[in-house]
Subunit: 226 residues, 4 copies
């Protein structure tokens, strides 16, 4: 078992990656790199999504606007590729226990959240989801779904091999592991993600609980609720 099933197709190389033999002058790789570099520099400089205009990117990259529009249909599509470029491959799994694999998976997301550009993109993507379903779809496809799939897969196998409970609510577990990371990624800049022990705490909390008093004396006090 290595990483996930549907490995992130980086789709890198923007739109129109035809395999038909292109004629005429080929696209300048240098221009493309300059564009990516410009976007990332601007993101790093604290530019907001709305300030991140195509004109500013073009100027920063020393490139004509048309050179950008030739590659991406609009600003958001460019961003999608920027995020794709950033997205490193999912971590190799296959630790001694499935708990270890879950910790690895969560730690992967934690480390992503520490990258400023990554936080920038998550926030912008969320902000644009109201108006732009296409971005929502792409972001789900590239980021959200692979991560959940990774966790689902670990859980499925953990259940099959008996390490995890059979009646586990997989989706709920996904959210218990992903949600807090998202929360800490988007809401703070002074990253509360730096503690490398965080993933272990989270996985153990999700798997075993962190709040209940030892069962003996609580058995009656938790009458199973509604």
């Amino acid at each position: 078992m290595t990483s996930a099933d549907t490995p992130l197709k980086p789709c890198h190389g923007p739109v129109g990656e035809q395999d038909a033999p292109r004629r005429g002058r080929p696209r300048s790789e240098a221009a493309e790199q300059a564009i990516y570099a410009a976007v990332e520099k601007l993101m790093e400089d604290g530019t907001g999504l709305s300030e991140l205009s195509i004109e500013r990117i073009a100027a920063e990259a020393g490139v004509g606007k048309a050179t950008i529009y030739r590659r991406w249909p609009n600003k958001e599509a460019l961003l999608v590729d920027v995020v794709a470029r950033l997205e490193e491959p999912l971590p190799p799994l296959g630790g001694p226990t499935y708990r270890d694999d879950l910790i690895s998976a969560v730690d992967y997301m934690r480390r992503r959240g520490l990258i400023k550009r990554s936080r920038w993109i998550v926030r912008s993507a969320l902000g644009q989801m109201n108006a732009w379903p296409e971005l929502k779809h792409t972001y789900h496809e590239r980021v959200v779904h692979p991560r959940r799939q990774m966790i689902r897969q670990i859980v499925r196998r953990g259940v099959e091999e008996g390490e995890l409970r059979a009646d586990l609510d997989v989706e709920l577990l996904c959210e218990l592991l992903i949600g807090p990371i998202l929360l800490r990624t988007v809401l703070w800049d002074d990253a509360p993600l730096e503690d490398p022990d965080l993933p272990r705490q989270m996985v153990d909390a999700a798997l075993q609980g962190i709040g209940a008093r030892p069962p003996a004396q609580r058995a009656s006090s938790v009458p199973s609720a509604s």
Copy 2:
């Protein structure tokens, strides 16, 4: 025990709520309501943050642009007040157990997440946090902090009275309870928040765990969790 300590000061009445005796014609309450209504209508109609221009709001509200700018310095400040207006008071607590209170608290957030406008605003706010620290601060103050504070308070008292474990990591619990709700609020529109049993599942999962194979003696003590 009622709701939280620092009840959400709605700050309603936009900028400049001087107590100095205002001179001249007073601001029109009707105009203000029309503006709020227009924003909410546009949000409801699926307008994105970037399409939500001041000009459109003014037109929709039948109001001059200056009337908006007189009250808020920019679009985002207006949104902050829109969100503040939406924010209903935190739920009354004081259920039979602190677990019940936690479920109430999570359910409050779940119900907020079901409101389309609320989802809209959370996303927009997150998207703007990159560029606009003031909005980040306000959003934290009005939304993030009260909610965490509410949970912290429940936990603190639950620990004091012995219902919850003393070594509980309060912050981690906060994120286990808030994170998944945020996740489901911002990532999907076909709301996966509709299940009214979700809060109970989450609280129980956080408190007791959902994954670990029962050490023999715990098998019977967690019978529920459908």
Copy 3:
């Protein structure tokens, strides 16, 4: 013979000079004077007609905008009254010869053209004539017509008494005497109107060409003036 027939009715006291007994608090004379003073100060400071906003006048005068609009329907009406206030009575005529009277008349216009405010107004009035026929009418009535009438009257009597030729083209003479003054008034600021001998030169130039009696008998009657 004193001045003109239709003496400039200053119309001072702006709009709504009803003789019906007004009720309530009477209009403040102080406010009115402050408004006039503010306008004249702004004109003096080199403010252009388009910069001369009602708001600025009100601020300068320490007066509410409504106080201005209560008196004049708009900016231009206010200006008309400002010009009217400036307009001193036409000069007393009745010199030894009608030629002297013409020189007096021209000199009157020359002296008006030396006043900065007066130049300011002439220019502004001309500029607005394209769009605002009411101002055109008023300006004609108050300024243009009285001046022409004054000259026509002198000429008529001069002809009657035989000093001026009977076949004199009165209208042409009017323009020969008024046009150059207007030209020097509107086109230059470094006033080329300062030479007090200018009116005599102009009158003689105009008269001896189209108005002078045949030379032989006129030789003594035009003793070349000072």
Copy 4:
């Protein structure tokens, strides 16, 4: 002798007529013509200077506002070019006598004054001279000075060749010939300039007073004229 020495440099082609090889897409000649046409249409329709907004011009011309601002820094600069475009070359001179040339010159101005657009511009230009010295300068340079220069030149040559008196006050003659035309141009719309004999009357009026060679018997009778 043809027209004037300093022939009206039409300066056409608005701001920035660099000879540096312009890069990028060249300015659209069509857009420029559309803008001129729109301005002239609006002027013809009786729009006043203050109603002549850039937005209206742009709409009328089917052009973006930026396309206008790219060429002229403001409304008045545009007007200057509109007037320059209108200004036809000064008339060819060289008639049988200098008196004929003067009549031609005056008739040229008379005909200009008959053009509605021309009247419109003269008035607007005068109105703006209070606040905008740059326009004053340009208007002088393009319109006022060439016309005076034309007359001065005729007079100079007429004096040299003995047709005109040597002690002629050239500047006064200029104003006697220009002033009345200006007067009739700006003060009336029902054009009192239509009489084609007017220039002859004016020239004869001016000349026989201050410029005509004495018919033998008048030589001594007009000795003065300092």
